[in-house]
């Protein structure tokens, strides 16, 4: 039986680890390579690196970080943030990323998903979606809207329609990141995660809002997610990766328990 996955997300800015609260006021909290290695040894199932470097000329730093991590961490690595072209995707793959996350650039130009899927394989293209709750309208019938630029710009696109379109264009997996829940530690947006997870055939990762172990349990059961993504919970040392996995296993969620 396939296990549910625990994924840790490391936001990296200028080669350093950062953590945002509601996508603003990021602060540095350490060396990403060191953290990645520690989580790997503690049983993490997958790692995501998100490059939040503001200036595009600093991209090479990110490639170095990915390369350094890939030499020490032997679980799937997923990388995103500022992927705008097939060349960006293939550079990251060569540096050692297994999966490539596309986000804002794909919203602006959806063909990017198909192009990247063609270049690196569907299963390696992850559509990362930043989503906020809205009052349902005829344009936004699901009551969830796609936003970009780290949550600052609403796009007038329905999140459910975008998830289905992303899958059709070849995305092999979806990250469902709730802007409303992000950084709050009050729990994932379960209605949103379940809505999208039931609509698509590809795996879905719940993101944004994890603060307590029961939030992960909820995302993987009620929220129908295949994987739960955590950040602050483990970065600040409140919980360890193995502790979270033992908790989930104890509550009957199928997890990988030997590593």
């Amino acid at each position: 039986m396939l296990s549910k996955r625990l994924i840790a997300c490391l936001d990296v800015r200028d080669g350093k680890l950062a953590k945002s609260v509601k996508f603003v006021d990021t602060k540095d909290i350490g060396d990403p390579v060191e953290k990645a290695r520690a989580y790997y040894l503690d049983g993490l199932d997958e790692l995501v690196f998100y490059d939040i470097t503001a200036s595009s000329d600093k991209r090479n730093i990110m490639l170095d970080v990915v390369e350094a991590v890939a030499e020490q961490v032997f679980i799937p690595l997923s990388v995103g943030g500022g992927v705008r072209s097939v060349a960006d995707a293939t550079d990251l793959r060569l540096a050692g990323a297994e999966k490539i996350n596309v986000n804002s650039a794909a919203v602006r130009r959806p063909a990017l998903i198909a192009e990247c899927a063609e270049a690196v394989g569907n299963q390696n293209i992850v559509l990362s979606m930043d989503i906020r709750r809205v009052t349902p309208t005829s344009e936004l019938p699901s009551g969830y809207e796609v936003v970009i630029e780290g949550g600052r710009r609403p796009m007038g696109m329905d999140a459910l329609a975008w998830a289905l379109e992303g899958e059709r264009l070849g995305a092999g997996e979806l990250v469902i990141n709730s802007i409303d829940a992000d950084g709050t530690r009050d729990g994932y947006e379960l209605d949103l995660t379940a809505l999208l997870a039931e609509a698509v055939r590809v795996p879905v990762i719940a993101s944004g809002g994890a603060g307590k172990p029961e939030h992960l349990y909820d995302a993987l059961t009620t929220g129908k997610a295949d994987a739960a993504l955590v950040a602050s919970m483990v970065h600040y040392g409140d919980y360890t990766v193995s502790e979270l996995k033992r908790y989930l296993d104890g509550r009957g969620v199928k997890m990988r328990m030997s590593w």
Partner: protein, 215 residues
């Protein structure tokens, strides 16, 4: 079943046929002390003492790429010489006679075919992506040390359907059981990715450096 320690310094070649990211396999080999070389040169493959045949992507394109560089023939020769060969993921899939993917005739190293996952249940996601248990059903030196509950990382939408039960060494459950490790004589292949499967995966790669090609 014999198991002799062979020098890790012998030439190990990872076959490069434009099918996915081979450097992750190379990095994992490096971690366990195997200095593996990535090569698309059929002669270099023939010179190798051990060959790793990885791959991610589609069966049709992979076969064309292999044939273009004469790598299919080199692989057949290496196997005929009795040298150990390790197939991974797409490498395993194109070892069979035929794949439903692109309705492609493949290498025919093992009898059987490769089929697409098809489920009625919508909660079973395709691809089969993530960690799953690999249950050894027939001892093999390459699978030594795997304990019940040990999981490996999988990413695939097609699965092998071997014609001969004797070629199946481990199985994995996804709705129903499929063959996750297969082999014959000096050929051994996994549907999962040892290079992305943490400690248990690294150990499997390390065992490849020591495997004498018998089972």
């Amino acid at each position: 079943m014999s198991y002799s320690r062979v020098s890790k310094l012998s030439l190990v070649v990872i076959i490069d046929y434009d099918a996915g990211n081979l450097r992750s396999v190379q990095r994992a080999c490096n971690e366990v002390g195997i200095a593996a070389e990535i090569s698309a040169d059929a002669d270099r493959v023939r010179e190798a003492e051990r060959v790793i045949f990885p791959g991610v992507g589609a069966a049709g394109a992979a076969m064309r790429s292999l044939q273009k560089n004469g790598l299919d023939e080199a692989l057949h020769e290496v196997l005929a010489d009795g040298k150990p060969v390790l197939g991974i993921c797409l490498g395993l899939q194109i070892s069979f006679d035929r794949s439903e993917e692109n309705d492609q005739e493949t290498l025919g190293l093992l009898p059987g075919c490769v089929k697409r996952f098809e489920f009625q249940r919508r909660d079973l996601k395709i691809p089969h992506m993530g960690w799953n248990e690999v249950r050894v059903i027939r001892p093999h030196p390459m699978l030594a040390g795997i304990e019940p509950g040990d999981e490996f990382y999988f990413v695939h939408a097609f699965y092998p359907s071997p014609a001969l039960a004797d070629n199946v060494f481990a199985v994995t459950d996804y709705e129903s059981e499929f063959a996750s490790a297969v082999g014959k004589d000096n050929y051994f292949a996994t549907q999962f990715h040892p290079e992305k499967s943490g400690r248990v995966g690294l150990r499997l790669l390390e065992q490849f450096a020591c495997w004498d090609g018998t089972c």
